[in-house]
């Protein structure tokens, strides 16, 4: 039973696009307010948690590629069925699809909540959800190339953010960062809390078979570059936040990044964060599209479903769920749960899969030799 993806030649992508996919998928809604959560655990060493979690992410990407390289043209769904057999494999695939759906929903809901809080307090969140979901349908039904195209352009939409962050530097106090490395356990906890923000690179599991065969080797390099870029963005934002807010203040700010943007003032425009939040739509778009695509790959490995039909079913389900999660507390709880699940799926599970895959491959090789 071969699950190899028969992706046609024109659907294959260049390896360097992996860089944009990683950036597009990692930078999403987490960046708006990840500082507070990590600060609670790691205090002024929160930036070390960011460093730590990114080191871990690099290791995970390395392991992911090792696993994927063992099975040439399989994505994670194919690998799971190969390694764990049909029943357990299908079950794990189902879990992965649920994870992708959860991720999709978390991104969407968090974004809508930010829009509702900062820009349009009186617009019904369901209407915003409909608009965004329809955009996603339009994008995803056009196929994989368009989805990757969106992550490509959305990256360039990100580039104007780092220069803006120079402005708050005037108001920072470097002493807030001291003392360094006070509480190792706290830093580790902070790294763990980072998982909601840092996830996204697990999309490699699904994208890998689509990379051009002869360029698959260099894809890993680009994945690491992508991680480095997001690391660069996160660490700058984290450092500026830590230096700008005093401790008790930061604990009370939900969206610290947006509050910092609030400071920036030009002769012709103020309250940059309103523009930023609206512009963020283009930045979460690749997030949503890629997770939907990932879920579709999982479902289509079991049922032969058209992408169009799947997309409509998927967004209908998402739309219905938006009715049940409404308040800030609920969203917070959801984010906490998602962080926990993401930590297991993204940071723990690849190692388990790698071990099982190695065993499976070795055993297969062994039986192949004897017979």
């Amino acid at each position: 039973m071969s699950q190899a993806i028969q992706s046609k030649q024109y659907e294959k992508i260049n390896a360097f696009l992996v860089f944009f996919i990683i950036c597009g998928c990692q930078i999403g809604v987490g960046i708006h307010g990840f500082q507070r959560v990590i600060y609670k655990d790691a205090k002024q060493d929160a930036w070390l948690s960011v460093v730590l979690s990114f080191i871990l992410a690099h290791i995970v990407v390395f392991v992911m590629f090792k696993t994927l390289e063992k099975f040439d043209n399989l994505d994670i769904y194919g690998i799971q069925r190969e390694v764990f057999g049909k029943i357990l494999g299908s079950f794990l695939n189902f879990v992965y699809v649920i994870y992708c759906t959860f991720a999709f929903f978390a991104v969407l809901k968090n974004y809508i909540e930010v829009v509702n809080t900062w820009v349009f307090p009186y617009v019904n969140p369901q209407f915003i959800a409909i608009a965004i979901l329809l955009l996603i349908v339009y994008a995803v039904t056009a196929g994989f190339r368009v989805v990757i195209g969106i992550s490509f352009f959305s990256f360039f939409f990100l580039l104007w953010i780092p220069p803006l962050l120079i402005y708050p530097l005037y108001f920072t106090n470097i002493n807030y960062l001291l003392p360094i490395m006070e509480d190792i356990i706290g830093i580790l906890k902070g790294a763990y809390s980072m998982s909601f923000t840092i996830v996204g690179f697990e999309i490699l599991n699904i994208v890998y078979p689509y990379i051009k065969d002869k360029e698959k080797k260099s894809a890993e390099k680009y994945a690491h570059f992508g991680l480095l870029f997001t690391f660069f963005i996160y660490i700058i934002i984290m450092l500026i936040t830590l230096m700008y807010f005093s401790g008790p203040q930061l604990e009370r700010v939900i969206w610290a990044t947006l509050t910092i943007f609030n400071l920036i003032e030009f002769p012709f425009v103020e309250r940059i964060e309103i523009i930023t939040i609206c512009a963020w739509l283009l930045i979460i778009l690749p997030n949503l599209c890629l997770y939907l695509w990932a879920a579709y790959r999982g479902v289509s490995s079991v049922y032969n479903l058209e992408i169009k039909r799947f997309t409509w079913i998927f967004i209908s389900i998402i739309f219905i769920i938006t009715f049940f999660i409404k308040t800030r507390t609920q969203i917070n709880t959801m984010n906490n749960y998602f962080g926990k699940i993401a930590f297991i799926v993204v940071f723990i599970y690849p190692f388990i899969l790698f071990i099982f895959a190695s065993i499976k491959k070795r055993r297969k090789k062994g039986t192949g030799d004897t017979s």
């Binding site: 260049n14 608009a131 965004i132 339009y138 012709f268 309103i274 739509l281």
Partner: protein, 517 residues
């Protein structure tokens, strides 16, 4: 939809001789497609007269008992008829078609016994020479061309560069192109399209440079056209587009032979049509609609500056008014305190919400433009003056709009005229309206939804199977020096990657599949 033709002619000869034997268009096939028998003079004349609906300018001329000439008076060159045909025929004593063909001092003489061929040649401006008791008819092509003389292109004018534009005559246009490209590789394939118009279409490309696959696609699309009439190449371009659902054109219409030849040299395919002064260049990328030939004729620094200016103008043109509407309706807190005072002062007496105000003013500008382009040039100036007064001072004095909005609207109108391509300039102006409405509904979020939608839409489009947004996405580094910017010529690759053969990244196959559905 383009696949309904069963047999695909791969080799379409450019030779007229072959074309005669294999006409591409068969009007009322069952009736006309027959071979002539031996007929007497009267029978033949009556037959032909009947088939061409006995026009008033139908002339039958008997040279002697054996030779008869039939032609349509308004279509032929009388000089040529007198000097080359009548005088020669009078000297022939034992006329056979073969002999007449040899004797006539004309370049285009054919012999045919197929009714459809001779009918179409007759109404195309040929004289038919019937000899006694012979089924074969001599077809002497002496059609007269009435065409406008070559003039400078009006819609795509430029300061530096060739000052010649296409005219409506296919022969003249092709000779213009051949003057630019003296290459034996320049292929010219002829098609005839339109049941009633039988319009000649020329498909031009450089063999070995243009992608064979794309040439086949376009050939197939032209051959499977089923229309009664074709008057302009703009209609042809729409008929053979990849997608008709979009507002964006996927083929470039140009009246400049230098632009056309530039396209051919970079591996694109050109289509010329008789009766139209616009050539079609395809495949074309979105960005190329904003290029002017003049960018390349100037120094590269200036060319780059002009292009960047143009692209920022386009962005400003599309988004200035929506930003005004969004900022004043929902996000007044983003307007800095220095700006809010003059803004609110000018808005104070305006009774409408910003969206109505903006739509109203944009509509006036559009009306002015439309009226100006439809009116004769002499009256056109009046429109400018009236418009200037109406939207310049009266609207503000009457308290209908604010001063600042007038600046924005005028600026965005001005910016939209920088687009060198008329078709695209219209679209840029049209795009503004839905975005203004979205901005009126959801402010900046509405604008962003429009931006995302546009981005996805442009990503979905393709021009003859080649991605519409290239060289940006898919990223083609080799084409980047000649895209948003223009680098020195030594950096610009001759062939656009869009048309590269065996380009496994292009969506050719995908598109072919779509076409065959």
């Amino acid at each position: 939809m383009f696949n309904n033709k069963k047999d695909k002619k791969n080799e379409q000869s450019t030779n007229n001789q072959q074309e005669l034997q294999e006409p591409t268009k068969h009007y009322t096939k069952s009736e006309l497609k027959q071979t002539l028998d031996t007929r007497t003079k009267e029978e033949f004349v009556n037959l032909i007269k009947d088939k061409v609906s006995s026009p008033a300018d139908f002339i039958v001329k008997n040279i002697n008992d054996e030779i008869t000439i039939i032609y349509i008076e308004n279509l032929i060159e009388v000089q040529s008829l007198n000097d080359n045909i009548i005088s020669t025929l009078q000297s022939i004593s034992e006329p056979t078609p073969q002999l007449i063909k040899e004797k006539l001092s004309l370049a285009q003489v054919d012999i045919s016994n197929k009714l459809d061929v001779i009918i179409y040649e007759l109404i195309g401006g040929a004289a038919l020479i019937h000899t006694k008791e012979n089924a074969d008819i001599v077809v002497a092509k002496i059609s007269s061309y009435q065409s406008r003389s070559l003039s400078a292109p009006e819609n795509e004018s430029q300061v530096i560069g060739t000052q010649v534009g296409f005219n409506e005559n296919l022969t003249t246009n092709i000779s213009l192109i051949r003057r630019f490209i003296k290459s034996p590789n320049l292929c010219n394939e002829n098609f005839e399209v339109g049941e009633d118009t039988v319009t000649s279409i020329s498909l031009l490309y450089l063999k070995g440079t243009a992608s064979e696959e794309q040439v086949n696609t376009i050939r197939q699309r032209i051959e499977s056209l089923d229309v009664s009439g074709l008057i302009d190449s703009a209609i042809l371009a729409e008929l053979i587009d990849d997608s008709t659902k979009t507002v964006f054109p996927q083929m470039l219409l140009t009246e400049r032979p230098d632009r056309f030849c530039d396209g051919l040299l970079s591996g694109k395919i050109g289509i010329m049509m008789n009766g139209s002064s616009m050539g079609i260049v395809t495949p074309i990328a979105f960005i190329e609609f904003f290029h002017s030939k003049e960018d390349q004729n100037l120094r590269w620094q200036i060319g780059t500056m002009l292009r960047l200016l143009r692209f920022s103008a386009i962005i400003a043109s599309v988004f200035l008014t929506p930003i005004y509407v969004a900022a004043l309706t929902y996000h007044y807190e983003i307007i800095s305190h220095t700006l809010i005072v003059p803004l609110s002062e000018s808005r104070a007496i305006v009774p409408f919400p910003p969206i109505l105000e903006a739509l109203f003013l944009e509509l006036i500008i559009e009306l002015l433009r439309e009226a100006g382009s439809r009116l004769p040039t002499k009256v056109g100036q009046t429109v400018g003056i009236v418009g200037g007064i109406v939207i310049g001072t009266a609207a503000v004095d009457a308290g209908i709009t604010s001063n600042i909005l007038i600046i924005f609207v005028a600026l965005s109108a001005l910016a939209s005229f920088t687009t060198p391509n008329y078709v695209m300039a219209n679209i840029i102006r049209f795009l503004r309206f839905p975005i203004i409405i979205l901005a009126g509904i959801w402010g900046f979020l509405g604008i962003m939804i429009a931006v995302c939608f546009l981005l996805i839409h442009l990503l979905r489009l393709s021009s003859l199977g080649a991605p519409y947004l290239s060289p940006l996405y898919p990223l083609r580094l080799k084409d980047l020096p000649n895209s948003l910017i223009r680098l020195p010529l030594s950096n610009i690759s001759r062939q656009a990657v869009n048309t590269r053969k065996g380009d496994d990244e292009s969506t050719n196959q995908e598109n072919n599949e779509k076409v065959s559905e």
